[in-house]
Symmetry: C2
Subunit: 738 residues, 2 copies
Amino acid sequence: MAKRQFKYVGHSVPRVDGVDKVTGKAKFVGDIVVPGMLYGKILRSPYPHARIRAIDPTEAEALPGVVAVLTAADIDDLNPIYNGRPIIAMHKVRYVGEPVAAVAALDLATAEEALGLIQVDYEELPTVVGIDAAVKKDAPLIHEEKGSNIGTHEQVRRGDADEGFTQSDEVVEDTFTFPMVYHYAMEPHSVIAHYDDNDEITVWSSAQHPFQVRSDISKIFKVPPSKVRLIINYLGGGYGSKSYTKFEPLALALARKAKQPVRICNSVGESMITVRRHGARVRIRTGVKRDGTIMAREAEIYLDTGGYDDNGPQVTARSATRVLGPYWIPNIRTDAYQVYTNTGSAGSYRAIGAPQVIFAGESQIEILAAKLGMDPAELRMKNLLKTGQELRPGLKGIDANLTSSLKSLIRESGWKKSRKKKNAAVGMGCAITNAGATPVSVAMIRMQSDGIANIAAGSTEMGQGVRTTLTQIAAEELTLPMEQFRMLGADTKVTPYDSSTGSSRSTTLMGTAVQKAARDLKQQFVKIGAQILSVKPRQIQVIDGALISGEARLTFKEAFERRFGKGAGGEMIGRGEAGPEITDHKLPVFWEVGMGTAEVEIDHETGEVKLKKFISVADVGKAIHPEHCIAQEEGAAMQGIGHTFFEQLIYDNGQLINPNLVDYRIPTFDDVPEEFHTVLVENGDGPGPFGVRGMAEGGILSVAPSVCNAIDRATSVRIKDLPLTPERVWRALRDAKK
Amino acid sequence: MAKRQFKYVGHSVPRVDGVDKVTGKAKFVGDIVVPGMLYGKILRSPYPHARIRAIDPTEAEALPGVVAVLTAADIDDLNPIYNGRPIIAMHKVRYVGEPVAAVAALDLATAEEALGLIQVDYEELPTVVGIDAAVKKDAPLIHEEKGSNIGTHEQVRRGDADEGFTQSDEVVEDTFTFPMVYHYAMEPHSVIAHYDDNDEITVWSSAQHPFQVRSDISKIFKVPPSKVRLIINYLGGGYGSKSYTKFEPLALALARKAKQPVRICNSVGESMITVRRHGARVRIRTGVKRDGTIMAREAEIYLDTGGYDDNGPQVTARSATRVLGPYWIPNIRTDAYQVYTNTGSAGSYRAIGAPQVIFAGESQIEILAAKLGMDPAELRMKNLLKTGQELRPGLKGIDANLTSSLKSLIRESGWKKSRKKKNAAVGMGCAITNAGATPVSVAMIRMQSDGIANIAAGSTEMGQGVRTTLTQIAAEELTLPMEQFRMLGADTKVTPYDSSTGSSRSTTLMGTAVQKAARDLKQQFVKIGAQILSVKPRQIQVIDGALISGEARLTFKEAFERRFGKGAGGEMIGRGEAGPEITDHKLPVFWEVGMGTAEVEIDHETGEVKLKKFISVADVGKAIHPEHCIAQEEGAAMQGIGHTFFEQLIYDNGQLINPNLVDYRIPTFDDVPEEFHTVLVENGDGPGPFGVRGMAEGGILSVAPSVCNAIDRATSVRIKDLPLTPERVWRALRDAKK
């Protein structure tokens, strides 16, 4: 690939939404006041498992200022189930916090007061607490009709695992657990819904996937998609917590009844009981030859999915693959089970289904390396998948040079030197994930007569900088300054179809669509220029927004005016699509790569472990905006630090007992490692524009295993349960001494 | 042109908005309730000409329920002038009805009550009444800074008119007058405006030209066009009364102050004092050779434009050309003057500037024919412009076969037979107009994964059937049933740029854009099909929404799914543009043709004239929807019947004294001629899709001259002033007897 000089791409340009955000002009759902808007609150179940005998909203309805009270009786005419859950509890509640009723009132205080006036008659049912209790033979059933508390069961098979273990010289088996954790986006999920008297629906939401929400609402409310409009301005962070449809249908059903727009903003506590990452228990067994060749892996993964599906089936499916690590394993037998319990539903969270199983797999790699007396980096290198090799049957071969990433990590982290120190507290973690992106994104660039090019792209801006990145791509292709572009916010009535903003997909897929739209528009200018300058299109060079042929020069603006007439208005539309052809109809669109090393300091008196140094490697293909890439990788690592050291939603018999920042500890700036460094690998081999590959999830993967590996290396104490609270570490160290 | 079989085009299919309209589901601005909406009323000047010394809104502001009172003091920060008028009167009022203040209140009754509480201190100024008074040397000035009461002065010159008259055998000179008339659209102009706290502007309006209103608002309120959104759902008739920007800026300034959306719906009376057709006085002189060859024409046109410009300059400019008729005239000298008077502003009205001058010109043609003893049809035929001939310098040559239209008229009306009867009350009128369409229209067709194709076209539906016609064009090109399309209403945030809906332009220009968008989309399907079926694109035939090659058949839906993946969503976008290339960069885009004959019955006792038979010819190139074409032509003729027989806004010293249906008589079904027939000429020679040429304005042109010619033919009494009230006719007949 010839080295190309880029003007916008590859440069850490100012964010296009930066000024609006720092000046407070950027509007989040909680800032938006739609005229005539009511304030909504949700009445939530206080019981983890109960039958609803009756609900009486009369008293609440009579409270002055209350406009509508919604209960299951109001949704008879709808298709109420989506993602395995009802809009609002029908007959039964399955977790503490499940919506049972909702109130729309003139102000929030009245709505809150009204909640207390709704009479609900519950019949308590036995609570299913945790994975073990859920999968017991005679466990109470959370979904009676399913016949068991197991939802999805996903398997991956290759070769003969038993035979593989037989051929192995060393076989180890361990069980790891991973806590339920909360995303802690700055903004809890928020929705404004309006159902007008013409069955036209408008929803402002902090949803990551507007088109999927549109589709769900269309089905639930039985209106064509063209009558459903999702407007997503900004999200105050997502990380998967706002993936798929959340309580948009509830807010809409309430607005429909109230005949006025209603805004519902979750509190942090409400978010914590309604969305989280799956807790997990992973039994994993790996066999290796004496030379380090991995012969077989078996895994049994139980994921605590909570009361309803949400995205649990997909998380489960993904975990069964992701547990394999970035290695060639000839014999595979993995089983992943989605387990219902009486807790809030787990959904998507950065690298769905991966941290839980990669913690297990990458811990075990170093257990094996110790047994073999090998440098664990060497053991990894030996088994790393080569480019083109298949991780498992049915998926596209590896599209990245993993060896190059691992070499970078070894070099940049000073791995070899640190290994030479005896009992140095250093450890490593390596992972890849099959990015779950559906490769369908469509974009337009609509150039106006004032020279402004509106980029119509349905990707949602949640802090990741997608508006900036897409603008860079468009600017580079059209050779126009960034200032000449406007990113239209995601709006299903305005921006073309995009399957989602998640799975690290936007730069690769929407980026491709935008790049094609820009090229399409540029080509139109070239055609106009060729006609005006009487040359062939290929004789025209496009430089800095002008069409150049020999001495002749025509700006886009001039070409536009020649096209439509001076002062006559007009519009030129470039369109672009990314579809499954982007990776030749084989998923994943790309493999995401995350590798890291940790160096820790252990206080043997208190059990406190400090992450001193963390180096991670992200193979980004091409960094469109290097600072964003680094920020994403570091942000991911910080979330990894969270679940490794502190974070855990603690349930006591179905009651979440720490739904606040005092009792639920998240990383602060104090927890940033003293040495914290991200290496961007840019081999230009990604499927996106300029060779880009999705990133931003990889950084979360290696923290937990590398930290536990470092502790083990320093203390010979292997910890298999997270988070690493001082108490847990202190006990482990004490037990080891015994 | 090979005869092509059409499935949708050329058929009078059901209107796509028909069911919504007859069931009341179609929302007009007056039906739309935006949440939080206030009700606005405008305080209007009671004086035709006065200085405003002071306005005190205090008392009105204090009225419970009043949210905001707008006066000129509130628009200091804006660019307040557009189309020659201020948003709201500043310092001075120039007609009775001029907005002086406006109130937004919780309900209409309060808003109306508040108007009475606003104290305005006026200093009356002398009123300028009528054209004669306005152009007097020492007339009071309506716009002091202009130095006279004449605005635009337009001239057309060719050859030497004086020399032409010298060479003529007969020269006649007459002066004709034409009344001020009102469009009487069913729906008076209505606007909802919302100015949100992020400077985002949304305006729902019954405006015909959303993009022009957007542009004006952008300039007035100093916000970029991308922040201004005009939504035009349906109009209850336009006829030019809703062309350009009306009181949208006023409603918006009021909403901005109220910080809530405000709806203002004009009453009929308010519309009648604020928008109308120009009254006119036309002195016209024509010279012919004995053989009927026209040698010269001179015209002096004075148009009463009212207190402000609105569209007066363009109307004036157009009249100076349109007075020439459809004839080759070697020597031309026409002058048109836009005259300010202290009356409501005149603006666009079906065939701007044409009925006034064509009444004069076509009356005079029959005066000349009588003098020459020629059949007036023969005189016309002799002088008709040939295809390609130039009516006047600077305009495109005639693109229609006028001879064929006149022949059709002569044949279909039984002209020759009726002329044989002595004193038969039959007359004729022939006209062409240079349609004032700016040739810039852009469209998209956005095919969704459910198979629905959204047509994004910014043309406004005002009853003319544009949504149906554009859908027919798209359906024909894409070979898909009409039901599979949805017309997105005009919405500047959604639909691409379109210069206007007016000048009979939409079927020709937006039709072209839609046709190209459809072809573009079809081509994309063909490409996909060719790839899947492994054939060349040209080996694929598109029939009934399927791609056919030999035995192989692939529906669009299947191709779409093959493109993006089954159930994976996606969107395919076809785009199309019509620009000045459509007529090789020369205006007009097309010449519109209107010819007709009238047969009347005269009651000599009462002076009542009844139109018994009216035959008109419209050269439509190709009728996309024949019934719509006929309805348009007949509707235009009915408006012609209105200004010919009844309609006239009567001002008494600046006060409109008949602003209601009792005193301002419009045609009713009783006035429909017994024989009323439209002939559509379809030579396929228009510049639009399938050879279409714009129509719908021509039918208004020939009524007045053909009726007056018929009266003259029957009674030898020439009436040169409209309308033909019984009193006026009776007096004319009586005076002739004297």
